[in-house]
């Protein structure tokens, strides 16, 4: 350990400021050129990768889908998705089958789990007004315990038809999605927690509830706008 060894410049002969600025300028321009060219070159492959990853995730929760379109649900209506998400807007994905019919809506939910944030993608069926599937995007939960949220069949059954109907005023869910203690599920809007992995299974429920409470009131009134694929559509 050499605490004393600092990076403070040693008292060398003073270099004129102009020289310093010139050198830094040269180096900075080289670096700038490198970064920008790297960015430009990788722009397309990265976008393609992201698209593939997104589709793979969406197709997993919405079986039978063949294409995905990104949208934003805003208080002013539905827009096509963009990179930046304005305040109050929620990003969601519409999935279509070969024929171009809407197969379902997918959106992300996230909540703090046991170790870190658990991010899930859930499928919403506008006709059933229910969640019809869920997949994990990322998590750092304890292997063997936390991963039950995608291996435990009984738990996954919760999401085959999870009721997320809106209340009469279309402002919020009629019944908040709730995770209940293992073995006490009574209502279709409840999720039966996994015994022994309660924290993680609760996080999934909380993430979905939080996201659905925001997304669905914006989406449901205008859901017809996305019934057909439009604009930026994947081949």
């Amino acid at each position: 350990m050499s605490e004393q060894q600092t990076i403070a410049p040693s008292p060398a002969p003073v270099t004129p400021s102009a020289a310093m600025i010139r050198t830094l300028g040269i180096v900075a321009s080289i670096c700038g050129a490198l970064i920008v060219s790297a960015y430009q070159i990788t722009l397309e492959p990265v976008a393609a990768n992201k698209k593939i990853a997104l589709e793979r995730a969406v197709f997993k929760v919405i079986p039978g889908a063949a294409s995905v379109t990104e949208y934003l649900a805003t208080p002013g209506g539905i827009q096509l998705g963009s990179d930046t998400v304005p305040a109050g807007a929620v990003k969601f994905y519409a999935a279509y089958d070969q024929a171009g019919a809407l197969k379902g809506i997918a959106a992300e939910g996230a909540a703090k789990g046991y170790a870190d944030v658990v991010r899930v993608l859930y499928a919403y069926s506008p006709e059933k007004q229910a969640i019809t599937g869920v997949g994990v995007i990322s998590m750092r939960e304890t292997p063997g315990i936390g991963d039950k949220i995608y291996t435990d069949k009984n738990y996954l059954k919760n999401f085959e038809a999870l009721d997320v109907r809106l209340s009469a005023d279309l402002k919020s869910l009629a019944n908040a999605v709730k995770v209940v203690k293992h073995g006490t599920k009574k209502n279709p809007w409840e999720i039966d927690a996994i015994a022994g992995a309660t924290v993680t299974s609760k996080a999934v429920g909380r993430g979905i509830n939080e996201s659905a409470q925001k997304l669905l009131p914006l989406l449901v009134p205008h859901v017809d706008n996305v019934s057909r694929p439009s604009g930026r559509q994947s081949p």
Partner: protein
Amino acid sequence: MSESLSSIFIGTLLANNFVLAMFLGLCPFLGVSSRLNTAVPMGAATTFVMVVASLCAYGLNWLVGQFHMEFLRLISYIVIIASAVQLVEMFLKKNSPALFRALGIYLPLITTNCAVLGVALFQTAREYSFLQALTFATAGGAGFTLALVLMAGVRERLNFSTVPQVVQGTALSLMLAGLLSLIFMGFAGLGASAE
């Protein structure tokens, strides 16, 4: 996702401790933890720089977003951290020479402390709000200090032990860090189930 401030604080301080669970700031953790009287100022200085860096990074991220120049984010973060450290150093030198002397040798080291850059990068990745970022940085620094102080206490006591020759040095520090990390797993979930 709206994470509560208390949840961020407790989680970052204990369960997701920067050093013991996220492997950030390991070099100073292993290097400056042999004595308590250097561990505490080091922790304090790092925490301070982390908060400053977090605030700067928050503003910078907004700026970068305005101009759609995400590719400059990393480079601007590291520049701003290096400048922040320099500024802190100058400020202290002028206004609190005593504190400057106490922290002097650590300040330049903080530039290459990955916990500082880590705060900036993680708060960006998690899209924290201003207050969340501030809490995150404070808790991260406090957690770093906590780990440093615990380690220093233990190592000072081990000075009197008959630690076998093969274990001494960095190997022992790593094993100790592993044990502390194992212990901090007990905090897992704290702050998570705050409903």
